[in-house]
Symmetry: C3
Subunit: 250 residues, 3 copies
């Protein structure tokens, strides 16, 4: 069930950094191996923290830092997803709990299979809401419904999550990955790479700034991006009613 | 389809400033002429920006500045709607794209006809999210659903927009304007002008400040507004179970 | 119908402070006596404010200050609920208007009986949105729908409030209190006291800070709380698949 360990965290960040830096990668899909997505810390490790009297993340000092440096307010665990250059889509194939629920919270888009169980989990272990779950959930599902999920640590299904707007769409297990890839493929073939990058950063910065600053930056970006070859190609494709062939990808 | 041009922008702001300053105008309704609401920039102008290598808004220096000066954080294109003295209702009679979708985003209330197509549009032209769309949409429909609309630039219908809470109500084309006017008429006859003005400003300022500051300002306003003749009239009308006849409008 | 008076406000805060300080109290349930929840100021008092030309809250200087001092941004009327040490659940048994609607807005969880009428009410009396209603509603039901409720002061039912996510669940009048107590009982027996306390504060602080600060505080809390006896008990109960018996409550 892909328990969250220092090793998994280290490898995840290493792979994320590689995908973020690789010019040939246009989007990132995160899913779980086997029947689960990620159920949080494993019970052995959790008991170890108790014996030790504190939390040991089990990660080395030289862990990769994907997405860091884009904006000061994104520079923390999991929040670094906001700083990535590429869209992240979570394909939630099985149960997600605790850290395993926080992770897809920081994806841009979430798909899931029906009938899967989610829980914030932390309350039953005398823990705080983990890694920004309490920051993200109210912005995704509204404050009233987020309070219920965060305070009770109750189990909720992916179906309820879909109704609440936490999950963007539900797909049967056999089609989850093909539907996810089809969504991503359509997105990266119709939307330019720089538009995806800048739109993500606008969205997450906009959660941290006033409306005038947001508008003024959009005007600056508009002026810059109209000078890029992908803009000319986008216009031509639009006028000629054909798919774009982005120069920036050649 | 009411393409967004420098001339349209100039005239829109001029009319908005006049309506905002005219004591006889109590609310502002924005709709599109003909079959469309507003489909954003026209393709000829978009090609011109490409040839020029940057964006030319096509507006003069002396363009009207409706709503500016109310709060520093509202002083930018489109965001100035927040600073207006009067309620703005968008009656979306046809397709809305790009800037044409950003504009009704800054209205207080949105009505639309069923089956109309909306799109953020920008991604297919290598553009950023335009004029604060990335700031507003997550606050209206939630972060997860806004991400999908902003990152894919996909077409969504007014029916989906209604389900998401972006549109307040759907009306058939033949009744859109009459229903919109009936809503506005009911609002301005039952709610006092200063309450509408202050409530709008409270809502939009509250998106920029802490909860204690919001409460404390509401207490100051409560004390001030209880000293106004419209308060005495509101109480009398309430006690006598009749419609109010606001002194401030005489 | 439990009109909001200086005396009611004074007693409410006194009782809230006592419940907050009493180690034996684990959660707070707020409901209305009789057929109503709270319909705001009574008309006699409202007329008195008019004669006086301003608002007199009718509360003494030495009024209790429950929840004050937790965070500067919570230190104001009603917003002080955020600073309490314990979960607050509103059981809305009848009509709620004006201040009577603002109060449950500041509860963590809201239950209501079906078919009950709510209204922000202020607009019809030439008043501003009261006590942070304009700050809270957009965060609970989304900006577009909140605008409609705040600007028109129209009546909406608890059923609509449930669909909008303002009310977490609807219960018939005869079972409202038993269902509310069952929810609370389940919450306080499965979630540790410090987790409830810290999660509440995380949620409300997170509405005031950047995502990195939220994550970093969650890491500090994680480390601290893993050193508490309730963590060891939570792990044991989880591994042994039994209900926890929190040491902190002994």
């Amino acid at each position: 069930m892909n328990a969250w360990t220092g090793r998994l965290h280290t490898e995840y960040r290493h792979l994320l950094a590689r995908a973020n830096d690789d010019h040939k990668v246009q989007a990132i899909v995160v899913s779980g191996k086997g029947r689960g997505f990620c159920v949080g810390g494993d019970s052995e490790a959790l008991q170890g923290h108790s014996a030790r009297g504190g939390y040991d993340p089990g990660t080395a000092e030289d862990i990769a830092r994907p997405g860091y440096g884009t904006a000061e307010e994104f520079d923390a665990a999991f929040a670094y997803h906001f700083g990535l250059q590429k869209v992240v889509v979570a394909a939630i194939n099985g149960p997600a709990a605790g850290v395993g629920l926080a992770l897809p919270c920081f994806a841009d888009i979430r798909f899931a299979v029906p009938g899967v169980k989610f829980t914030t989990a932390h309350g039953k272990l005398n823990l705080p809401a983990e890694y920004g779950l309490s920051w993200m959930l109210p912005k995704v599902v509204g404050l009233g419904r987020a309070n219920d999920l965060l305070l009770t640590s109750r189990v909720f299904t992916s179906d309820e999550a879909y109704q609440l707007g936490f999950v963007n769409a539900l797909f049967e297990p056999e089609s989850l990955m093909s539907e996810t890839y089809a969504y991503v493929q359509n997105m990266i073939s119709t939307v330019s790479p720089n538009s995806l990058r800048q739109t993500r950063w606008q969205i997450y910065r906009d959660l941290h700034r006033d409306v005038a600053s947001s508008v003024i930056e959009s005007e600056t970006l508009l002026n810059q991006m109209m000078g890029e070859p992908d803009y000319a190609e986008g216009i031509s494709a639009f006028v000629e009613k054909r798919a774009p062939d982005w120069p920036s990808l050649k």
